[in-house]
Amino acid sequence: MAGYEILSTFFRSTVSMIPEKSFAPKRLLLLTAFFVFSFINIDAQDGKALFIAKCASCHIMGGTSTGPDLQGVVERWGGDEVRVKQWILNYDKLVKSGDSKAAEVANSSPNVMQIFEGQLSPADLDALVKYINEWKPAVAATTTGPTQQDDSGRGGLIFGVISLIMAIIALILMQVNSNLKKLSDDAEGILRPDPVPFYKNKVYIALFSILLFIVGGYYTASALIDFGRQKDYQPEQPIYYSHKVHAGTNQISCLYCHGAAMESKHAAIPSVNVCMNCHKTITSYSETSPKIYKDDGTEVNGTREIEKLYSYAGFDPKNPLAWDPAKAKPIPWTKIHNLPDHVYFNHSQHIKAGNVQCQTCHGEITNMDEVYQFSELSMGWCVNCHRDTKVDFYKIDTSGRAKGNKFYSIYEKFHNDIKSGRMDSVTVKDIGGLECQKCHY
């Protein structure tokens, strides 16, 4: 078992050291096709993105969450889009204006809706309502995640097996050769000393020792390098929180909970009050939803996990109005991604400035029930990505339109090189992304 462990990690590390030029974009494409995260630039016309950014924390399409189901909401309001829009912007105003439907909706739930006045333009509202109107339950997507099989690894194995077979054949042939020689010598009557059996042959022993030293040393060194690295680390958490259910099935934006990733070095784990935004009303795991299983096959009782949350929050679902958020206790999650203290890593640098998708480093989170460490988080892994990743370089295209991050407008040399065709794009490496004190200070 242990031997297998070392072997497999060895292959993984060799693979990850190879620039993943052809591999990475394909994987990204798959991921983005599977699930669109649209927090980078919210286009005013993109209703879905707006929905995810503004509404999805309380509403889901085709089901009741903190807020009511929005499927067919316009019909329920008698097809009056204008009033629905007024409601979205400021429901309170609409209620106070004496609108009976509005009063009815407002009284239907103890929860109050956020005021979006000033946050949504008329065009945004149009797009949003259009999205809600046109929404249809999705056909269950077939998950075709990236295969973790790596061809190069298999190739190496085949090559190794062939080498081993060849070596054995060579050994047998040599043995056969010496036996034949002995026979012929006997026949000719030449007296020779008895041949040393191959396991006593000093040349063989020396060769074998050297080989053992090299191979053993290689594997030992590789294994030692992996010490302290925790790829695939999947600790048990105080609550069986399924990212698959939240980010996958319910399509909650990563940033709804991990919003700090846009402004801070930490992505930050959400506080209990963020969980309770939705779980004040979602008190049980729906019977109709797909069942959740642990790796060992045992079924997870989603409702019981939600109850665990309530015990931290001090919330009684039978008496929701008595809840005092100030009495909530924090949940002691187990940290999965641990970087050494001498590494400076900043989420916002990658997410906001670098436009990197969460999944690039964290893997297909939407498909993970309990999260495990997807990437190696080794320096080689960081550096390989820095070598290849292109920055959002500032360019002025032929029509005179500026594109890219204005910060890079000062890189005169690169602008000239791009103009003259010596360079086609600027990578993180070009702007100093491989230098020691970009991450170690």
């Binding site: 010490f227 600790p235 402004e263 801070s264 641990n338 916002s348 000062i410 020691c436 004190q437």
Partner: protein, 1079 residues
């Protein structure tokens, strides 16, 4: 005769010992056990043992590292406050308050804890600048020696009181029937607090300052009818004459004054005018070191000097005999002051009311009131009057004081007759102390109520009349502490706490909650709206003010009220008072404040204790500053005529001779001697603020000796000098940790460049010529060394390139940058014994050079201060000797240091011509701080202070963005790369270019005089590019002839004197002909 620039007496002599020192920069071997003569096999750790240990430790490490990875928790908030994002720093406007010292600041709060102090840019008079003490104050918050809960005295011991309710009950019971309660504080400027005090029934408020400005307050009262200090604007003064006032270091608000002062000291290529600064003083002070010309006199002569100056200007006052040099100086000063009427000022550091009266008369005569001294705004930094505390002692002795409450003041430590105060205090029944520490006075009290650190407090301060600065908490109180105002409110029957009171007070004053919140957010409020009127003259008349005839009142009225209405009635009396001044004895003593420690209140701060004094470069001690002739006589150290061996014995060993100083025949103190050039030959100087009780902490406790008791009273005010002291050698030695004597430039010239203004104007190209000659020698075609003269490829800098310019004309050596660097970069405190072993860790140091005549080192012409940090050379000698490439160059011009790569060969430090690399000899921030590990056998014993710095509480001050280094690693200035990265990231996130001024280093941010300018040299509009372009004639690189191509340039120091110094034509051949002493 040429000038000589030197750092130590040994260097002055060019001694062999120095050569040896230079040869071996790291005098110790690495801490491996030495092999004895019997060979390795018989050494105490022979080869086999070595292999055994090696095998065992490898196996153990492998098992330990491989088998179990620690499980770490990530605990989020239960309810995240809306405006807090983990990992993002917030800046809150608040105010540094240490007694009367007040600076508006911003506290950088990261994940709920303040970690750094920056200046508040909104403040008009400090311009967002700070002092060393303000920078260090954040460490005080996390001091393990702070009082953690209320206490009361039972018998001789203090006992904890569990709750404030119980304490309040006890005190209420004690206070009933206590007549005439007195509140004794240091200077208090908070308007709301003053209101609370005024409302407390029957409470008498006495203010007392350890560094009294009583003389000045009383003289101003006599001359202007206001017991106050006017504001000064040194920017409007072309001639500044300071009579012993350390206005750049410790006098009133040095940050503001230094900022004004340098406005006329910066000299660009077009300029040929600077202000003149003449200093008359008794010892080498920091301000004196910055002066254009200095004249020394005995401290008892400060009156006669002022009088002589007045006589020379007004022409009708009696004078006293003074030595010829001082006389000549006075004549010079008088001429210049007279020639610049309306643009000249005289300031005096004397606490003698008569001297200050004369100074007022001089200022009036030269028209300083109005343009330079402004009475329309008064300074509130010091308000204590010496007569008040004398009266308090008398009242306590007579038994009329029923209760004494003490806040801020610490007379048991810093009063000149502390025993008398203590004895009087013993007669008071109820004694209550509000304090952060169990200081000397607090120990004498019955009840102790721990007060907040200012970073935990609400409050306000009014440092200048009409200029309010607000205090808001940046962290929840760490301990069971309470604002002292809350106690006063409670005991006076008002049940609101101070927070509510303060908010209501300002909401009423500012009209609305919004107005208050805006003001709080800004931190400062410059308007007369909140001003408390300058206290009217008390009914009690002062005898000095009533006598004397009117002499003259020549005032140039500029602004109504700004001149204050001078009434020179008291001048003659003052002059008479001075004539009665005692004659000095053989030797005299002057007490001074160090820029780092001040009066000693912040002495518990290890950063400040480890900040070297600008002049002596000593830290962790006070000592006797002694002139060279006196040292020869008393301790037998002859630094002029002595042999090399003799000089080296004094200079290169931390053991300094100890003397016994006796004042008035009975008050004695034993302290080591540091010999300093440029002192008055018959005067010794000792810093106050040392010798605290160890109850306030190990940083201050038992460090140095308390010398406050050597000061005395002249009847009306306190004198910080003694005219008659006897000094005798104590016959023993004492280790003093000095920080500058160990690094050397190996006789390379061109480290500092300095000349007089006259010489500079005469030959403006004198500094530039050297650079041109170098260019002509090495790069005749292009003039660019990078292109022609080096085999190394030039670093490509496609985007930004950082550069720094340091103006030596502006640097006053205040040390704010050094402490700021400490705080920003987690630079460890190493303690006195490590500094004495030259293991100090400062990334940024301020080198001090004396400029003297070659033959007379006591005749100091100037002192040059040079902040020295990693020069980030583009052709760095350190980079190409590192065997593991731990130090290398980046694409922004920064010489990087990868700590985890460093294996500690120290080749880089040996090869660094600037001696700015620092080696971690011990694990200062880790296991070596534990008591049982502190004896490092081969390195030496470490001080207990290191353990305090590594307490979990103290470590809260660490900057989480900067790695804490461990043993065996080299470190050095990184140009505050974490700040630069943050600024770049902010720009990227905002999709803009990096604006100039967004990326700052900590030293630049702290510098009160803008001596340090930093920025992107590729940005043509940046300040750094402009500064370099506008100061091309003064610009130089340190030892440019070694072609390190530094990214830090300096601007030569120009003294405003008329002396013509022959410009030495720098000849590269000559430099080479004088090879380095070593190698």
């Amino acid at each position: 005769m040429s000038n000589k620039y030197w750092q130590s007496f040994g260097e002055l002599k060019g001694s062999e010992e120095l050569a040896k020192k230079i040869e071996n920069e790291f005098q110790e071997e690495l801490p491996f056990e030495e092999s004895n003569e019997k060979g390795w096999l018989d050494a105490s750790a022979p080869r086999r043992d070595f292999l055994k240990y090696l095998g065992f430790s490898t196996a153990a490490a492998a098992i330990a590292a491989g088998c179990k990875t620690p499980v770490r928790k990530a605990v989020p908030f239960a309810n995240k406050p809306a405006d807090i994002v983990p990992g993002v720093s917030k800046y809150y406007a608040t105010t540094y308050v240490q007694d009367g010292d007040i600076l508006p600041i911003l506290a950088k709060v990261r994940d709920g804890r303040p970690i750094k102090i920056e200046g508040n840019d909104e403040c008009t008079y400090t311009g967002g600048k700070t002092s060393a003490r303000a920078q260090a104050s954040v460490l005080d918050l996390y001091d393990t020696n702070r009082l953690t809960h209320p206490k009361r005295k039972v018998g001789a011991k203090f006992e904890e009181v569990p709750t404030f309710e119980q304490l309040d009950k006890m005190i209420a019971a004690a206070l009933t029937g206590a007549t005439n309660p007195v509140l004794l504080t240091s200077t208090l400027t908070s308007p709301s607090t003053k209101e609370i005090i005024a409302k407390y029934p029957g409470l008498k408020h006495v203010q007392y300052d350890a560094d009294s400005f009583s003389g000045m307050l009383m003289a101003n009262e006599a001359a202007f009818g206001k017991r106050a200090i006017p504001s000064y604007n040194f920017a409007n003064a072309k001639v500044i004459v300071s009579l012993g006032a350390d206005f750049l270091g410790t006098w009133l608000n040095p940050v503001e004054f230094a900022r004004q002062y340098v406005q006329r000291r910066k000299l660009d290529d077009k300029g040929s005018e600077m202000s003149r600064h003449l200093q008359f003083e008794s010892f080498m002070s920091m301000t004196g070191a910055n002066a254009d010309e200095r004249f020394t006199h005995r401290p008892s002569e400060s009156g006669p000097v002022a009088l002589a100056l007045y006589a020379a200007i007004a022409g009708n006052a009696a004078t006293h005999p003074l030595n010829d040099k001082v006389k000549a100086g006075i004549a010079k000063a008088a001429t210049e002051l007279n020639a610049n009427k309306g643009a000249a000022v005289v300031v005096s550091g004397s606490n003698d009311v008569n001297v200050q009266a004369i100074v007022n008369a001089i200022n009036s005569a030269i028209g300083a009131y109005g343009p330079v001294i402004d009475w329309s705004t008064t300074l509130n930094y010091r308000q204590g009057v010496d007569a008040d505390i004398s009266q308090l002692i008398a009242d306590m002795n007579s038994g009329s004081v029923g209760a004494l409450m003490v806040y801020g003041a610490n007379p048991v430590y810093d009063y000149y007759d502390a025993d008398k105060f203590k004895a009087a205090m013993a007669k008071v029944k109820v004694k209550i102390s509000f304090n952060e520490y169990l200081d000397e006075t607090t120990q004498e009290c019955n009840y102790v109520i721990p007060s907040h650190h200012f970073l935990e407090s609400w409050g306000d301060a009014e440092p200048k009349s009409g200029y309010i600065s607000f205090i808001q908490p940046t962290i929840h109180p760490l301990f069971k502490t309470r604002a002292f105002q809350t106690s006063l409110l409670k005991w006076s029957g008002n049940n609101t706490d101070y927070e509510t009171y303060f908010k209501n007070y300002w909401e009423t004053k500012l009209g609305s909650r919004d107005g208050f919140e805006t003001a709080l957010q800004k931190g400062v409020l410059d308007s007369k709206i909140g001003s408390t009127p300058v206290p009217a003259t008390p009914a009690k008349t002062d005898s000095l003010a009533t006598t004397g005839a009117v002499t003259q009142t020549t005032t140039t009225q500029t602004r109504p009220g700004s001149t204050g209405g001078y009434n020179g009635g008291s001048v003659e009396a003052a002059a008479a008072g001075i004539s009665g001044t005692r004659k000095g004895g053989k030797a005299e003593l002057v007490l001074y404040q160090k820029v780092s420690i001040g009066t000693g209140k912040q002495g518990t701060n290890p950063w400040l204790q480890e900040l070297p004094d600008p002049i002596t470069k000593a830290c962790w001690d006070n000592y006797v500053m002694m002139s060279m002739p006196m040292a020869k006589e008393i301790v037998g150290v002859d630094l002029i005529g002595g042999s090399e061996r003799h000089i080296n014995k004094y200079e290169y060993f931390p053991e300094k001779p100890v003397v016994t100083v006796t004042v008035a025949g009975k008050k004695t103190v034993e302290l080591p001697v540091l010999i300093i050039p440029g002192m008055d030959p018959n005067t010794i100087a000792i810093a106050v603020g040392y010798g605290r009780t160890d109850k306030v902490g190990i940083a201050a406790g038992n460090v140095g000796a308390n010398v406050y008791h050597l000061s005395s009273s002249n009847g009306s005010s306190r004198d910080y000098y003694s005219p008659d002291v006897t000094i005798a050698s104590a016959g023993r030695k004492y280790r003093v940790a000095q920080s500058q004597v160990h690094s050397s430039y190996e006789n390379r010239t061109e480290v500092v460049k300095e000349t007089s203004l006259a010489s500079f104007v005469k030959d403006r190209k004198q500094f530039k010529r050297f650079r041109e000659e170098l260019a002509a020698d090495f790069a005749p075609k292009t003039g660019d060394f990078r292109k022609e003269a080096t085999i190394y490829p030039d670093h490509s800098q496609p985007g930004l390139k950082w550069g720094m310019s340091i103006d030596m004309n502006s640097c006053t050596a205040c040390g704010a940058c050094v402490v700021a660097c400490h705080a920003e970069n987690n630079v460890p405190v190493v303690g006195k014994s490590e500094v004495a072993r030259y293991h100090d860790m400062h990334w940024l140091r301020i080198d001090r050079y004396f400029v003297t005549n070659e033959n007379n080192p006591d005749d100091v012409k100037a002192v040059v201060f040079q902040p020295m940090l990693c020069q980030h050379c583009d052709n760095a000698p350190c980079e190409n000797v590192c065997p593991v490439a731990a130090t290398n160059h980046n694409s922004e011009g920064i010489n990087q240091m990868a700590y985890n790569r460093c294996i500690g060969t120290r080749y880089c430090a040996n090869n660094c011509p600037y001696k700015v690399r620092r080696f971690n000899w011990a694990d200062y921030t880790g296991a070596d701080s534990f008591p049982n590990n502190r004896d490092q056998k081969l390195v030496g014993k470490l001080d207990p202070i290191i353990e305090q710095m590594n307490d979990d509480l103290t470590r809260m001050v660490l900057n989480p963005d900067v790695t804490v280094r461990s043993r065996g690693v080299m470190e050095k200035c990184s140009f505050c790369i974490q700040r630069l990265q943050e600024a770049k990231l902010d720009a990227k996130k905002a999709n803009t270019t990096l604006a100039d001024g967004k990326a700052t280093t900590a030293c630049m941010q702290a510098c009160p005089t803008d001596a340090i300018v930093f920025g992107n040299v590729k940005d043509k509009d940046s300040r750094i590019v402009k500064t370099r372009a506008e100061n091309d004639e003064r610009l130089f690189y340190v030892i440019e002839q070694v072609h390190t191509l530094p990214n830090v340039n300096y601007l030569a120091k120009i003294r405003n004197t008329s002396e013509i110094i022959e410009t030495e034509h720098h000849d590269e051949k000559k430099v080479e002909a004088k090879p380095a002493a070593a190698h």
